[in-house]
């Protein structure tokens, strides 16, 4: 187990290095000059040049990447925090500490603070969405799989195939029209700001519903296929021949074996929601990681984009690790090496 964790950690660090360097390289070819974006269209060329030099944007790619890495590891201080270069950037933690992700050029604040404000909202959205996705998908998937080929299965399958094929923005706009514009039961945006006349809970209803519709339908299909497949396996027939009650066969023998494939899919959904549901967050103006990623990418805020990539990698590796443990628990024949 320890060697498994150590190997996974090594793979994670390698992936992280490769991905963060690739991102730096890609931004070399992305359009726009961050200095001119900060100063806006009406700054004269000499002003843009001055800021460009202050931000060290002219340094070679490898040099800038090494600086970023050194700052992240706390080996070097962040040059942008130097008051002498008059950028007005300051970090209360100091210029050198482990985990220093730099400054957001868009928000002129430490990236750590920018992320801290957003991540809580994304976690809330994820927790609520998963809390509905898992029971709904498991219930409908099992009912459908157990009744494969019957009308109830055809009904559930028809519904889930239809909902899976709907893009999130279509579902979101349809729900907005119905519940916000027409009935007036729910708010049109979910900015989650204090003092809003709509409660935080009511603001969560529509974004969570869109995520549940998009994700639960897909997971239901996977559970259904897995249950139907498991039901055809010899140990299920043996259990039935032993005279076990159908309910017990399903809960004790089928479900446990049928869950291995859906666990992977459910963990991928967690990964997806936690690291960037850009469309849903943009439509509902939800202040999470997805909308931040969109804004940072459009602005060319490389340090925020880098930090979000780091976060996405961590979540991906973390969920994969949880998945491996779950496989082992579900099927004792599986051993982690």
């Amino acid at each position: 187990m320890i060697s498994f964790i150590a190997r996974r950690l090594g793979q994670f660090l390698f992936t992280l290095l490769a991905a963060s360097f690739l991102l730096f390289a890609v931004t070399e070819f992305s359009p726009g000059n961050v200095a001119s974006k900060i100063l806006g269209p009406y700054a004269v060329e000499s002003q843009v040049d001055l800021l460009y030099d202050k931000l060290d944007l002219g340094d070679p790619l490898l040099q800038r990447y090494t600086k970023w890495l050194g700052t992240l590891l706390g080996l070097s201080s962040n040059a942008l925090a130097d008051p002498a270069i008059s950028l007005g950037l300051s970090d209360p933690r100091g210029a050198r500490y482990f985990g220093n992700l730099g400054f957001s050029l868009m928000q002129k604040e430490p990236v750590v603070d920018v992320l801290a404000r957003r991540i809580g909202h994304t976690v809330v959205l994820t927790v609520w969405a998963i809390a509905f996705i898992v029971p709904i998908a498991l219930t409908l998937g099992v009912i459908s799989g157990v009744n494969a080929g019957r009308p109830v299965d055809r009904g559930i399958s028809g519904l889930t195939v239809t909902l899976t094929s709907l893009p999130e923005f279509v579902t979101a706009v349809a729900l907005l029209l119905l519940f916000s514009a027409w009935l007036g039961w729910l708010p049109g945006t979910s900015t989650m700001t204090a003092g809003d006349q709509w409660s935080a809970a009511s603001q969560l209803v529509l974004p969570v519903t869109v995520l549940v519709i998009a994700s639960a339908s897909y997971v239901t299909r996977i559970v259904r296929a897995s249950v139907a497949d498991t039901l055809r396996r010899p140990f299920v027939r043996t259990a039935r021949l032993k005279g076990l009650a159908p309910r017990r066969v399903i809960l004790q023998h089928v479900l446990r074996n049928a869950l291995i494939a859906p666990v992977t899919v459910i963990l991928l959904q967690v990964n997806w929601i936690l690291t960037g549901v850009v469309v849903v967050e943009a439509i509902f103006a939800y202040p999470g990681i997805g909308s931040l990623l969109l804004q940072a990418a459009l602005f060319g805020d490389i340090y925020v984009v880098q930090a979000l990539t780091l976060l996405a990698l961590t979540v991906a590796v973390g969920t994969q690790f949880v998945g491996d443990i779950a496989y082992m628990l579900l099927d004792p024949k599986i051993r982690l090496r």
């Binding site: 900060i38 806006g40 060329e45 000499s46 002003q47 002129k108 404000r117 907005l176 900015t191 967050e281």
Partner: protein, 560 residues
Amino acid sequence: MSRLRQHPYIATLVQQYSTRAVNRREFLRTATLLGLSATTAYAIAGKIDGRSGTARAQSNKPKGGTLRLSTTVYDVKSPATASTTAHPLIYAQVVEHLTKTGADNVTRPHLLESWSPSEDLRTWELKIRPGVTWHSGRAFTADDIVWNLTRLLSDEAGSSVLGLMKGYMLNAIDTGEVNERGRKILRHELWDANAIEKVDDRTVRLNLKAPQLAVPEHLFHYPAVMLDPEEGGVFGPGANGTGAFTLTELEVSRRAVLEAVEDYWGEGPYLDRIEFIDVGGNEQAIVNALLSKQVDGAFQILPDFFPVLENQDHLAYYEVTTADTSVTRMNVTHKPFDDPRVRLAFRLAIDPAKASAVTYGPFSTPAEHHHVSPIHPEYARLDPWTRDVARAKALLAEAGYGDGVDVELTIQQNPPHHLRNATALAEMWEEAGIRAKIKVVPNAQYWDVWLTAPLGATVWAHRPLAVINLALAYRSGVPWNESGYANPTFDRLLDAAEAVPDPVARRENMAEIQSLLQDDGPIVQTYWRKLFTFYDKRVVGFAMHPTYQVFCNELALRDG
């Protein structure tokens, strides 16, 4: 030095309005620019035309409440580098301008009590309003103005005020060095050590390198707010200011909260608190927030969403006619636009009325390819522009492009009406043998190529005088001359127009300038845009401003 009391032209202006040689709007705007107080100007106008009208309608507005407005919440640490008209929505409630151009397009003194230009418009005396104090209790003085203007005009501040005032306040110095990209390193310095001169604690004198009528308008440029020198040019929650509100909370891209101060020197404030809410730049989300009453008003609404909101019982519609536009400018340093016959052919192939209707529908009016709007006081009426495809083809053939010409038109991705305008142009050009490929780029990328792209469509914000835009965009060698246009005749005519305070006399110059731009100029211009928005009917005192400004100290909220 010239006399600095009431400008001598004001008497002539009164006479002109009496005989209706100028209209009411031209009278008010020019009289106030020349230093007459808005109250006096309105009073004189009222005496002449019998219309009641006040500079400011103060009524018994209700007090209290929180106003929630939808806008992009930008970082505002450095107002000097503000780059959009949405930036000042937050900081200008706290730190204020010396002057104020109202929704009626009339510029009035604000932190100033008055200004007095010399006859030759090269010396401007600015008098501070008595009783203006910082929130800290310190009096607002001439030293504050000198510090702020000097800073705004320095390279280090990075402010677009530099580009705006460079022509009459600064000299560009070639340091003889080149930067890493091989470009000359230029520095700017005040053209004269006394260019910004403190006369006494309440008076500052601006001594200009060249005549300039629009100084009061430039002092209302959105980054030109007065910051407390003790705070070193940094703004944020708790920053000292002279305004009606103080910033208590700022979360970029999310929300800003401001609270009313006591003993504000001017009107109001009536509200207890303002919250600016950022819904992430998604136009649909702004509409949704208005529909579900999560905000009381929006920065602006695009025409695509007008039908959704027009019949909402709780919303009121506000619009303003502006000189906001986009020009399709041809960079004359690139072929084929170095040939004036080609530039004229590009204009002759276009019917602005049709393009305007396609671009912005009923929310626009056709332009005439010269960047002077009918709402500008110096606008000269020329013969109506007529599309002439046959002549356009002939001109292209004469210029050596008998088989037509292939061009690439670079436009910004948002808002969507840019693409509609470009498509209308491309369709009409095609009939004249001009084959245009439209290249849509992200907005931020456009500003990297706006000065260099051979053919591009650039947004030009509303400015109350036509000469301001013309000086910024078409004078030879100025920083924002995106077309590279350099015509000594145009420069001479513009110099003359800028030195003439008389709108009637200036109109004669303008007729020549407008005709010259139609014949020789570097732009194809098809529309002027109206700006509009919706506010909750509970909001009292709002008027749509041509540059989107909201004066929150004048706003109030009714119950219900």
